[in-house]
């Protein structure tokens, strides 16, 4: 079941669209679920589908298409590193290698303490700052160097993110 908070947010979102096009709110609805739970389970997708009057398969398509949606627990802080062309040319391969080594996990994994999750992302439309990553899909950190990565991680460890 969707929580009261989530349905309130979805209702607010629905006001932006014509009444007969409720499915327009699907991306926002999934985001609200993920903000609340940290991930989106198939049950959540069915609930969103029922709430918006969509086919559950259509919600599943959306949830699997975008890299911002977590289909499994991705830790307290999810680091999404862009690996598309511009970032790769600017050294995102090194960024990924450094993060993997430092956190002791591979792409798509979560540290044993559940603090950090690392995943691959698609172009975030800010190639000028390549290579870059996003924190929990909310904050973008660009022009990454090892020193900058160290600082980001230290801030997160210290609770300053």
């Amino acid at each position: 079941m969707l929580s009261q908070q989530v349905t309130t947010l979805i209702d607010k979102e629905l006001k932006k669209y014509p009444a007969d096009q409720r499915q327009s709110a699907v991306m926002a609805a999934l985001r609200f679920v993920q903000d609340e739970k940290g991930l989106i389970t198939p049950e959540d997708m069915s609930d969103v589908a029922a709430y918006l009057g969509m086919q559950q398969m259509a919600v599943y398509e959306v949830a699997t298409f975008y890299h911002m949606y977590n289909l499994k627990p991705m830790g307290k802080h999810t680091l999404t590193v862009c690996t598309n062309l511009s970032c790769t040319l600017c050294g995102s391969g090194d960024t990924v290698a450094y993060l993997e080594k430092k956190l002791g996990i591979k792409m798509g994994e979560v540290t044993a303490d559940g603090k950090f999750g690392l995943r691959e992302g698609e172009c975030m439309g800010a190639c000028i700052d390549a290579p870059l990553l996003t924190l929990n899909n909310k904050k973008m950190c660009g022009k990454l160097t090892t020193a900058k990565i160290d600082k980001i991680l230290a801030d997160l460890e210290g609770g300053k993110a």
């Binding site: 198939p42 086919q55 559950q56 398969m57 259509a58 599943y60 398509e61 699997t64 298409f65 698609e122």
Partner: protein
């Protein structure tokens, strides 16, 4: 109309059409995969790229609307270069396993790659691999690496089937066709995805590795499993039916086929096929020669007719029997002097006989349903009873058809139902009567308001309404509503030949007994044609009692069935694939077909068996050489279209006082409708063929102190069965829904009436 030019050819086409439609109309082929005339435009395969004058880049022909004066080049250097480029990309990840692919020889990718593919691949890297999926017993998704992600199957589910069971998950090179949570695809139309798949990703599971497509002989036939009369292409090899595909007929089945029609053939050659005549002597069955069995049967009939009287003989056929078979059965009965013949085995109200002027039929053509703007459906499990017709109605709803439903169960029809009233069976007449009154009172809302606001109104009575104990009153009310709304009304026939049975005169005359009275007051002798009495009759308890008490029961059947218990002679007859015959569809379309394979073993077409029985009984007019001559005699001087009429007079409509206790609501499950379907292993493995449950409103379950999932004991008449119960809060209170036509419920009584349920 606007004028365009394709490859230098002047074409006049409708405004709003696309380049590919205009090209196809003019007979110009444009290669394509994702485009399908019955589905929405996806434009994702890019194979149909063409050059358009003044456009800087090639454009997809399927998604480019025509404009006045447009010049299109489908074979110019630019177009061919683009098409070849797309082809190369499509083949990069394709496994190229054509030698072991079931689609080989009838594959769009294979065909088009002959024209546009290169002789060798420049791609040396590893190909992507997509894992196989299990999406049920009918459609095989074993080799999803072959998929080119055209999404035809996805769009079919969304648009035609009404439920999006497959979807394209993930993105880019990870994109794949999946079902939600790896569930099965349960649509009753799922087999069409096999036809739509342009490659070998979705193939037929039962047909898998059975034959190469070029080894098969293709023969035309007509569907025997529902009343639509779908056109079939039956593919055979070595005198065996190996698969069934649709033949496109826009006026009937369009290009679709229900899974029932497509996969029923798997039930043709089962181990319980009756392949030799058998007679029972001293309680033991023995196989005998045809001559012996036929004389035994003829003697049995002669003995009863001469002794107890011809009126002690009754003939019963199923509505799936051919026109020729039913004609000869009634001729045999009437030749012996009996008027007892019927094919309406699941009907319980025969009071319309003598009061209706003609042969009940759909009331309008199937194609006219697409043009209707208001439709009232009374008593129908529409989607399961008539899958392809339901798909047609679903399309019409999208174009503005307003559908209302009056029924005793509220199954999801996967289409928008504007108004519905779900009531217990004994309130059905009253409910329809109120609608009729509201229509006369020009009420502006509800079902009446919907019907009154339409210009092309139709009222259709489904199987449930035809089987209802007050069917003639429902018919009268439907007529009243149709007259008041200047619309049409009719019946969606419940069997392949439900119109043909009337035309063949396989109904009792004024003196004769109908199917119900032949069971209620048992006869001494019965001739059964295709009948599995415990599954095909309105009241299996009564039917079995009548047959067991009879002196002689002569069974013409393709299978050794329960008739072994009560029959005296079993005559092996050919199912519809092994005999020529005629079905008259629910819209009155006369369609003859030929046998596609030879009869199995010593089985013979039933019309021949009945002819010889007539000869042995020395009856006049049984000298037929061909089934065509039987048909010609049956239809001689008969203008079928003139005979079709649903008009009824002289039936009094009276609201029945509701009976005490729980009432039974019965559907005949989609894969329990006839003997062939019941034996098709793949169909019986689908979700629709699950063991029937006892469905009740959750409050009714509480009343008897059981919970959903627990076993309950159901009592009706002299029998009882134990089944799992399940809550369905969309059912009206006071009803118990239990399927009929299924072995698990055949110990029960009539399809309607009171029934008790208790804790097991």
């Amino acid at each position: 109309m606007i004028n365009i030019e394709i490859d230098g050819k002047h074409i006049e086409t409708e405004n709003g059409s696309t380049v590919i439609e205009a090209a196809h109309k003019a007979g110009i082929a444009i290669p394509h995969f994702c485009y399908h005339k019955k589905l929405s435009i996806a434009a994702n395969c890019r194979m149909c790229l063409v050059q358009v004058e003044k456009a800087p880049k090639p454009l997809p022909a399927c998604a480019t609307p025509v404009t006045e004066g447009m010049k299109v080049f489908t074979h110019s250097d630019q177009a061919v270069k683009a098409q070849k480029g797309v082809m190369e990309f499509l083949l990069i990840n394709h496994p190229l396993d054509c030698p072991i692919c079931d689609q080989g020889g009838e594959c769009m990718l294979q065909d088009i790659s002959v024209g546009y593919g290169a002789g060798h691949s420049r791609y040396q890297e590893e190909k992507r691999m997509v894992l196989s999926k299990d999406i049920g017993p009918l459609v095989s998704a074993e080799e999803m690496s072959r998929c080119i992600n055209c999404t035809r199957c996805v769009r079919f589910g969304q648009e035609i089937g009404g439920k999006m069971e497959l979807g394209q998950a993930f993105r880019t090179e990870h994109a794949e066709i999946v079902s939600f949570l790896s569930s099965t695809v349960d649509s009753e139309l799922s087999g069409n995805m096999i036809d739509l798949c342009p490659v070998g990703a979705l193939t037929s599971k039962p047909f898998r590795y059975k034959a190469r497509s070029w080894e098969l002989s293709r023969r035309r036939s007509i569907s025997a499993h529902d009343s639509l009369g779908s056109n079939l292409a039956v593919h055979t090899k070595n005198n065996q039916v190996l698969r069934v595909l649709p033949i496109e007929n826009e006026a009937i089945n369009e290009c679709w086929l229900s899974d029932k029609d497509r996969f029923a053939y798997e039930g043709l050659n089962t181990s319980d096929r009756l392949t030799k005549p058998m007679i029972k002597q001293d309680g033991k069955w023995q196989e005998v020669e045809w001559q012996v069995a036929l004389e035994y049967a003829a003697n049995g009939l002669r003995h009863i007719a001469n002794g107890a009287g011809a009126e002690q003989v009754g003939g019963l056929a199923t509505g799936g029997s051919t026109l020729e078979e039913m004609y000869l059965l009634q001729k045999l009965m009437r030749g012996m002097g009996s008027d007892n013949v019927d094919f309406r085995l699941r009907q319980s109200d025969f009071s319309a006989d003598g009061k209706q002027q003609g042969t009940p039929w759909l009331g309008l053509s199937v194609a006219d349903i697409s043009r209707a703007d208001r439709l009232l459906i009374v008593g129908s499990f529409l989607r399961k009873d008539h899958p392809v017709l339901a798909a047609r109605i679903r399309q019409a709803v999208k174009k503005g058809l307003n559908v209302s439903l009056i029924h005793s169960a509220d199954d999801d029809q996967l289409m928008h139902i504007a108004h519905k009233t779900i009531v217990a069976p004994d309130a059905l007449v009253n409910t329809l009567s109120q609608v009729a009154q509201a229509v006369d009172a020009k009420q502006s809302d509800g079902i009446a308001g919907s019907l009154l606001s339409g210009e092309r109104v139709a009222v259709l009575l489904g199987n449930f309404a035809q089987q209802h104990p007050q069917a003639s009153q429902l018919q009268t009310l439907a007529q009243q509503i149709a007259v008041s709304t200047k619309g049409k009304f009719g019946f969606i026939g419940d069997a392949a030949n439900s119109v043909g049975g009337y035309i063949a005169q396989a109904t009792p005359g004024a003196k004769g007994m109908n199917a119900a009275s032949m069971m209620a007051s048992p006869r001494k002798a019965y001739v059964l044609l295709n009948v599995e009495a415990e599954l095909d009759c309105a009241n299996p308890q009564q039917a079995m009692a009548a047959l067991q008490s009879a002196d002689t029961v002569i069974v013409l059947s393709a299978y050794k069935n329960k008739a072994l218990d009560y029959a005296d002679v079993l005559l092996p007859i050919a199912p519809f694939t092994e005999t020529s015959g005629t079905f008259i569809s629910t819209e009155g379309r006369v369609q003859s077909f030929k046998g596609v394979v030879k009869p199995l073993g010593e089985a013979r077409p039933a019309w021949k068996v009945l002819r010889v029985l007539g000869n042995l009984l020395k009856l006049d007019g049984f000298d037929f050489d061909t089934s065509e001559s039987v048909r010609d005699e049956a239809l001689e001087g008969v203008d079928v279209s003139a005979k079709l009429s649903n008009a009824i007079t002289g039936v009094e409509v009276k609201a029945e006082v509701s009976a005490a206790g729980m009432q039974r609501v019965s559907d005949v499950p989609i894969y329990a409708t006839d003997a062939v379907v019941r034996r098709s292993v793949p169909l019986q493995a689908t979700a629709d063929a699950a063991i029937p449950k006892v469905w009740m409103h959750s409050e009714e379950l509480n009343n008897i102190g059981v919970k959903s999932g627990m076993n309950v004991k159901v009592n009706q008449g002299s029998g009882s069965v134990k089944l799992a119960c399940c809550a369905d809060d969309k059912l009206p209170k006071g009803v118990v829904r239990i399927a009929a036509g299924h072995p698990a419920t055949s110990a029960l009584g009539a399809m309607f009436g009171t029934i008790t349920v208790e804790r097991a």
